[in-house]
């Protein structure tokens, strides 16, 4: 059987077991997969699911982008300059260990309950992780290969595209993977605390109403999107840049 079939099988059997459990025991606090699917449909038709998902996705996209734009150069700089490394390493470690919740609360307090604060909080949480990964990437650059580019007098553009970046791809991939996984989660917390839309905000409301079907409906819709982006975008990117390894 193909790998995809096995993957699908594991999801389907989990859902089947769940459905059976609910039918037989009828627990108060656990809706069945069918109930949840129905709820997803209702929320979808009303348009609120899509609106909230989009708001969250936008925050995820923005904060991921800013975190990468700042974190990647910073990490590479620390890889090449010993002084930069000594200056920033300690600070980076501190920021990595400040709980995400603290950063989120402080950002909302300092910047106000707005979009800027939400995105800034996530970016601050995310940067240290990217910095650490990219510093490793920068240190792993093989100067013997860079010497080839130099000796053959390759243009700067060619050197970057064909010699330098390919050595960083594994690290960029790792940073993207770990980064997105982290950003999804932190964005929801930020939304729960200080936003007036988004998946996190909606989950907060359902929490107050004890609406478990609603919570799970949003969770699954959201997880579905994460899985699709992971499989569709990141894995495809990975297989295209890592083709030579097979």
């Amino acid at each position: 059987m193909a790998a995809a079939t096995w993957r699908l099988l594991s999801f389907v059997s989990l859902l089947a077991c769940w459905q059976v459990v609910v039918i037989f025991w009828q627990p108060q606090l656990l809706p069945s997969p069918v109930d949840i699917a129905e709820r997803v449909w209702l929320e979808g038709v009303s348009g609120s699911l899509l609106a909230n998902l989009l708001a969250t996705m936008q925050r995820v996209g923005l904060s991921f982008l800013f975190a990468m734009l700042l974190g990647v150069p910073l990490g590479l700089w620390m890889a090449y300059s010993r002084r930069a490394d000594l200056l920033l390493d300690g600070i980076n470690t501190i920021f990595m260990n400040i709980p995400a919740l603290v950063v989120i609360i402080l950002c909302f307090l300092w910047l106000g309950l707005n979009e800027k604060a939400a995105v800034a909080a996530v970016v601050i949480n995310k940067i240290p992780v990217i910095v650490v990964t990219m510093r490793e990437g920068g240190k792993a650059i093989d100067f013997k290969l860079m010497a080839v580019a130099r000796a053959f007098n390759l243009s700067r553009r060619r050197t970057l595209i064909d010699v330098y970046f390919p050595q960083l791809y594994p690290y960029l991939l790792a940073a993207t993977r770990a980064g997105l996984a982290l950003v999804w989660k932190i964005v929801l917390v930020a939304e729960l605390i200080g936003c007036s839309n988004g998946v996190g905000f909606q989950l907060g409301i359902y929490f107050q109403y004890f609406d478990i079907a609603g919570i799970l409906a949003y969770t699954f819709a959201f997880v579905g999107i994460v899985l699709i982006s992971e499989a569709g975008l990141i894995r495809r990117w990975e297989s295209s840049v890592m083709r030579w390894r097979t």
Binding site: A147, V148, D162
Partner: protein, 245 residues
């Protein structure tokens, strides 16, 4: 004519400078096949890196006085193949060309790969090849850049004898056809005698030239002649026999 003048090349370790090369000066005529022989650890690779412009931190000057203006094109083959693992063989060879993406370049690169004896598909990645085959690709890459000066750093080390002989012959054929300048670093005197117009002998660090020898044997050179010359060279310079065997 290429003039190499390295007054001083030092490495710094723990604040102290250790000279690797000192007062090393020589000239290479355009189209000359120069071999440089020296014991291992004599700074030969360091010297080649300076000539190649990979390392620019040294006192001295590498100058080229060519008939045609502009800096000469360099081709280089390192001790290791140093192919880009993420590029196919064809892409690796095309990389050093002026227009790596043109069809013409691809056709030339295919031909070059055939010339160096890569029969396998050029769409393979370097990791799928043996070390010897990777060296062939590295040679193809070096030749692909159409160099005015070709620098070779023990390029055939660790190849089996027949393959090394084949590639030596190939190198000579290409060189005789295009008459570029070659600087060939090796620690094997025999190899140097087989190939070169002139041999420079280097000392251990700090590297200096301790002897110069023109090889007047007509090409193609016979194994017996090469061996006789090697023995007489070693006899004349007792020092060398110990170091270079």
């Amino acid at each position: 004519m290429m003039t190499v003048n390295i007054a001083n090349k030092s490495y710094y370790r723990d604040g102290a400078a250790a000279a690797v090369i000192q007062d090393l000066a020589f000239e290479v005529k355009t189209g000359e096949f120069l071999a440089i022989v020296g014991p291992s650890g004599a700074g030969k690779s360091t010297m080649l890196n300076l000539i190649a412009g990979v390392d620019t931190k040294f006192d001295g000057r590498i100058s080229h006085s060519n008939s045609n203006t502009g800096s000469p094109k360099l081709g280089i083959m390192f001790q290791e193949p140093r192919l880009m693992p993420w590029l196919t063989l064809l892409e690796n060879v095309c990389l050093v060309s002026d227009s790596p993406n043109s069809t013409l370049t691809a056709v030339r690169a295919e031909a070059m790969l055939n010339t160096v004896g890569i029969a396998a598909s050029s769409a393979q990645y370097p990791s799928q090849l043996s070390g010897g085959m990777q060296r062939r690709v590295a040679l193809a890459r070096a030749l692909m850049s159409e160099p005015d000066v070709l620098l070779l750093d023990e390029p055939l080390v660790s190849l089996d004898q027949p393959a090394a002989m084949e590639l030596r012959q190939l190198l000579l054929t290409v060189w005789q056809k295009h008459k570029f300048t070659i600087v060939y670093v090796t620690h094997q005197l025999e190899e140097a005698i087989t190939l070169a117009d002139r041999i420079l002998f280097l000392s251990a660090t700090p590297t200096k030239i301790i002897r110069e020898e023109c090889i007047d044997l007509p090409r193609p050179r016979q194994l017996l002649d090469v061996d006789a010359l090697r023995i007489s060279l070693c006899d004349r310079e007792g020092l060398l026999s110990g170091r270079l065997g």
